[in-house]
Symmetry: C2
Subunit: 149 residues, 2 copies
């Protein structure tokens, strides 16, 4: 997974047109102020451990949100961050999983997957306002390896 | 080089704070409307052929700008697009080279390199409004190889 985190005055989007892999949704417009925007590309290697990549992504986003004292989080699918994307099915599962976990503690707005979207963004510009992350799933523990080591 | 091209209603920036590699400049604020914003990360492999990577980047930006019928171009350094960056010296040389070439035909605004910057962006959201590119420098022709082949 590739992630770009932007501490923003606001993020506003409007879905304009479907691509072939558009999710079915009625949430076609949204806006959040004083937010952390998480642009996310789910990658091929994340398919091996969906639960693991969701957990690590949530952990990373929470860590930054807490440091910035932000209560509002935008999850924004962003395929352009990677040239090795997962299947659309996995991407949507991961994005929804991150949304579900973060909603336990934050106000979360998730922009729809697979739509061409207009957006307006205002990045604050302080030293921690733009961060990028490469997140890899933990290896799932194998019984055999545990016995051998 | 990694490039993210966004067809925008506007891009506005304000440099807030220097990093250790900040270029010396008085152009600390800027705004352009109806523009193509080129977010650019210059990469290690581009160091082998600075002239070549400038030419290919300019060619790519011009192609998209012409298709979109855009006369205004923003060059915006964006290290977060790559995890294999060039030296700051090469990055600045490439960014200035692209600016100089494009200025022959377009209105160009170049955001300063190595500064923490606030920015506001409005992406139009039509199918061609967000494009990403990986650009590699041409191999410089070697006499020996030409003879052998
Ligand atoms: Mg403000």
């Amino acid at each position: 997974m590739r992630m770009l985190l932007i501490h923003s005055d606001y993020l506003e989007f409007e879905a304009k047109e479907k691509t072939k892999i558009a999710e079915d949704t009625e949430n076609l417009k949204g806006k959040l102020e004083e937010c952390l925007v998480s642009f996310i590309a789910v990658e091929r290697e994340d398919e091996s451990n969906v639960k693991g990549i969701i957990d690590k992504a949530v952990e990373e986003i929470k860590k930054v949100a807490e440091k910035l004292k932000v209560k509002n989080i935008v999850i924004y699918p962003y395929a352009h961050l990677s040239s090795n994307l997962s299947s659309p099915e996995t991407a949507l599962e991961v994005l929804k999983g991150i949304e579900k976990e973060l909603k336990k503690e934050f106000n979360v707005l998730r922009a729809p997957f697979g739509w061409y979207k207009a957006f307006k963004l205002s990045c604050k510009g302080h030293p921690l306002s733009e961060l990028s992350r490469k997140i890899v799933p933990e290896e799932e523990k194998k019984e055999k390896e545990e016995v051998e080591s």
